[in-house]
Amino acid sequence: MNLVEFASVTKRYQLGDVEVVALNGVDFQIQPGDFVAITGPSGSGKTTMLNLIGCLDAPSAGELRVMGKTIEALGEQALDQLRSRTFGMIFQNFNLIPVLTAEENVALPLHLHNLSRQDMRQRATEALRAVDLERFATFRPDQLSGGQRQRVAIARALVTRPQLILADEPTASLDTANALSLVELMKRLNSEQGVTFVFSTHDDRLLRHVSRIVELRDGKLTVTHEQTKRTEHGSPSSQTNRYEVM
């Protein structure tokens, strides 16, 4: 079963008197275990697509199914539950709560999972261990570097053991070393834990490591690259399957 399935999805916004078509009849699927990058110029619809996948928004036309469920048919409560059980989110600016420690930030999504305080703490510690930040558990975000903050954000996305992690420009705020480290981490989690990653990015450093690249232009899905293997250092393979969608 596809994790996510776009069927002729269109998304329009009304900006004053002007109607903006952010996505225009997009057909697209995400399978479990995918490591997908959504790319394209600014305003091409990347964030809109991530918002739709994350059920933060609803299509204006077409059908969007997440875990086999048509999201237009779901109520707000069901959507909240779907988000909390299915997705983990990583943001460009990390979006950590500044008044909480790293461990508390990681444990935050667990408040929706009816766990005991001890269980929450244990799960948060495990997540921090997975991103090699266990010893920074008591640090506040302002005491961490950019790369460490993004790792905390990843740990927070992982802590609920989601099937799909959505990341919006996850390396945009990081230097090269941290960006590469982050990519390695995500790839490791993808390969070892089978976590599906979908992220929007312009970053070539990241694009070299993905299994699929989805390119958007003016709201239309123009190109996908299927990368069957990757080089040792993350450069793209020569064997690509390129085709025009629209």
Binding site: G54, L56, E76, Q77, D80, Q81, L82, R83, S84, R85, F87, M89, F91, N93, N95, I97, P98, V99, L100, E104, L108, P109, H111, L112
Partner: protein, 663 residues
């Protein structure tokens, strides 16, 4: 989440501090004001119960509280009823002591000065015991067994009579007769009520009973061990009295509107002010909190978006902001509570004095703020603020923003109302004014009308006044002698009142009876005692005492009449105003509406002219009957019959004050 909320408050310390200061100041103001109101409440209750000697429970005749002032005799308790109430009152729990009281009005005279008094007749021993149980800082001066206490203002009105000097009390007895007594002034007291501070008089019960010529009392009062038991005691006593004599008695407590007027009116006022102030403070606090929530939401949109993306519902996210608001309010409440108690004890230490509303003497300020009440206030405020914060947070975080309604702006509403009022006023037609005669002509009419009622010339006649009143009927007969506006009335019947005389001379009136050492000067107000004013008995000269205004023409019982409005032109006039109807043909008064100072009709007189007298050789009609009806209680009236009217030539000495005692 509570920890996160708390840390968020700490994160933005300046905003939190500003909010805490605003909310805390509001709560502090409410708590202090609340403490002050409770202090005023307790003080006013003590004044009503102890200083005004109302005690805790009062027993009247049915409808007594409302009707006693108008018809004291009908609504008083006789000896048997007093005994019954005493016995039943003593048989109930929480009883401490019982006593009888009499209230009354009249005039007090000292050194030639007159003033109105409102008297309370109290058993001096009961008052002393009641005061001993009071916690009032300044208990009133004790009442002696045979003397009078007057307020200082009343003493000033009477020319500051010396302590020990005799003052005269003058009033209408329970059988609607004039009566007067003399008693020494033994001291001063305060009514505690500014409005009547210049009329207050306190007398021993027996002395006041002698003025009103009765052994009845206005009420029986019962002191209890605690004011908290008053309502239950009242119900129990009322039930027993009802079993004894159904529909006969009415039992009240000290805070009944007719008893504790001061308490009820001011507590109503204070409660309203407190409610208003509390509402204003609450709205300000709520608005401050809502503003803070709105700013927090605006500043943390990224955080809210992140939480939504994680699956947090809008309600859960709003809950975070509500927690922050509740914590802010609780911090503010703790600060306010601490400061309130600091201020409270600070005031106690400084022995600050304050003036209670309408209470003449200052009292020590002592805010009364029980912790349970203070906590309840804070809980209510916190809940209200939490609710307001919830609404704001939910709205800001994703609820639909209500579109602006198409309401009518206040200015437009006011303008429309003003236009409507103006238009209405402009469309009201002007009354058509009849051509008015000159004042000289009208005075001439009045002089002729006065002549027909004995206001001018020299006459004598016998006057019988029959008064009907729910308390009973009385008939009194006078011999009247008049000469050019002076008059002397001597009581003929009943025989026990023989020797009473009323002298009217030079716009003054005097009363004397056997037992009084000197005549009592009767002021214009005293002339209104009873349905038939003493001033109506004889020598009424409207042409001299009033200024006429022409109102128009009308009919009275089919008779064409001029309608004049007479306004008192001299302080000696009996009435503030009269609407006088003169027969157009005979120019004799047909009807008179007597007016109060506020212009209300309170008595209506009708005249008949069946007598004849000769004036300058010509026979003239003379008044034979005058009926004066109470405008508010038509079953109360006086019928004056004028008989044996004849010209006479009494000597001037008959109308001299010096000879009044010796006649």
């Amino acid at each position: 989440m509570w920890a996160m909320a708390f840390r968020n408050l700490y994160r933005d310390q300046r905003r939190t501090l500003a909010t805490v200061v605003a909310v805390g100041a509001g709560l502090l103001a409410v708590l202090l004001f609340f403490g002050y109101i409770r202090f005023v409440e307790g003080s006013l209750a003590s004044v009503v119960i102890y200083r005004d000697a109302n005690a805790h429970v009062q027993v009247y005749r049915k409808d007594g509280p409302e009707q006693l002032a108008a018809t004291p005799a009908q609504y008083s308790l006789d000896r048997q009823e007093q005994r019954t109430v005493h016995e039943l009152a003593q048989s109930l729990p929480h009883f401490r002591r019982v006593s009888d009281q009499l209230v009354g009005v009249g005039m007090v005279n000292a050194g030639g000065h007159n003033a109105v008094f409102l008297a309370r007749g109290i058993d001096p021993a009961f008052e002393a015991e009641l005061q001993a149980d009071s916690r009032l800082a300044a208990p009133p001066a004790p009442l002696s067994r045979d003397g009078l206490l007057l307020t200082r203002q009343l003493q000033d009105l009477l020319g500051a009579p010396a302590k020990g000097s005799d003052v005269q009390l003058f009033g209408a007895s329970y059988v609607n007769r004039l009566n007067a007594i003399e008693a020494p002034l033994t001291g001063s007291f305060s009514t505690g009520i500014e409005a009547i501070e210049d009329k207050g008089l306190k007398a021993p019960l027996t002395l006041l009973q002698s003025l009103y010529d009765t052994d009845a009392v206005s009420r029986v009062v019962v002191q209890l061990d605690d004011r908290g038991n008053a309502a239950a005691y009242r119900d129990a006593l009322a039930a027993r009295l009802e079993r004894q004599a159904p529909g006969r008695y009415e039992v009240t407590t000290w805070n009944h509107p007719q008893i504790g007027q001061l308490y009820v009116s001011f507590m109503g006022f204070f409660n309203m002010v407190f409610a208003f102030t509390g509402t204003v403070v609450f709205v300000i606090s709520l608005t401050t909190i809502q503003h803070t929530v709105a700013m927090n939401v605006a500043d943390r949109t990224r955080e809210i978006g992140m939480l939504r993306a994680m699956g947090f519902s809008r309600r859960k996210i709003a809950g975070l902001f509500v927690r922050e608001s509740v914590l802010t309010t609780l911090i503010a409440a703790c600060v306010a509570l601490g400061l309130a108690y600091l201020v409270m004890y600070g005031i106690l230490l400084t022995h600050m004095q304050t003036q209670l509303p309408r209470i003449a003497e200052p009292v020590q300020l002592a805010l009364d703020l029980p912790l349970s009440w203070a906590l309840a206030t804070i809980v209510v405020a916190t809940l209200g603020i939490a609710l307001g914060a919830t609404v704001t947070a939910r709205k800001r975080i994703g609820g639909k923003v209500l579109a602006d309604g198409k309401s009518v702006p206040l200015t437009r509403l006011l303008t429309t109302t003003a236009c409507l009022v103006l238009t209405t006023l402009l469309t009201i037609g002007h009354a058509h004014a009849e051509d008015a005669p000159s004042e000289t002509v009208m005075r001439d009419w009045l002089r002729k009308a006065d002549l027909a009622r004995g206001g001018w010339g020299s006459y004598k006649w016998a006057l019988s006044i029959h008064t009907e009143d729910p308390a009973g009927a009385t008939t009194t007969t006078y011999d009247i002698a008049v000469r050019d506006g002076k008059a002397l009335a001597r009581t003929v019947e009943p025989k026990r009142y023989q020797g009473e005389k009323i002298l009217i001379a030079s716009r003054a009136m005097w009363y004397i009876k056997p037992g009084l050492r000197k005549p009592v000067s009767i002021s214009p107000q005293q002339r209104l005692v009873g349905e038939a004013a003493n001033g109506d008995i004889a020598a009424t000269q409207y042409a001299r005492d009033y200024t006429p205004l022409f109102v128009g023409s009308t009919q009275v019982n089919g008779v064409d009449c001029y309608k004049l409005k007479l306004n008192a032109a001299t302080p000696g006039a009996t009435y503030e105003g009269i609407v006088y109807y003169l027969d157009k043909r005979s120019l004799m008064g047909v009807k008179a509406d007597f007016l109060t100072a506020s212009g209300m009709v309170f008595k209506i007189a009708t005249f008949e002219y069946g007598n004849k007298v000769k004036v300058n050789g010509r026979e003239q009609p003379f008044v034979s009957s005058m009926k004066i009806v109470n405008a508010n209680f038509p079953d109360r009236y006086s019928q004056l019959q004028y008989v044996q009217v004849a010209p006479s030539n009494p000597p001037d000495s008959l109308f001299a004050l010096d000879t009044l005692m010796t006649m």
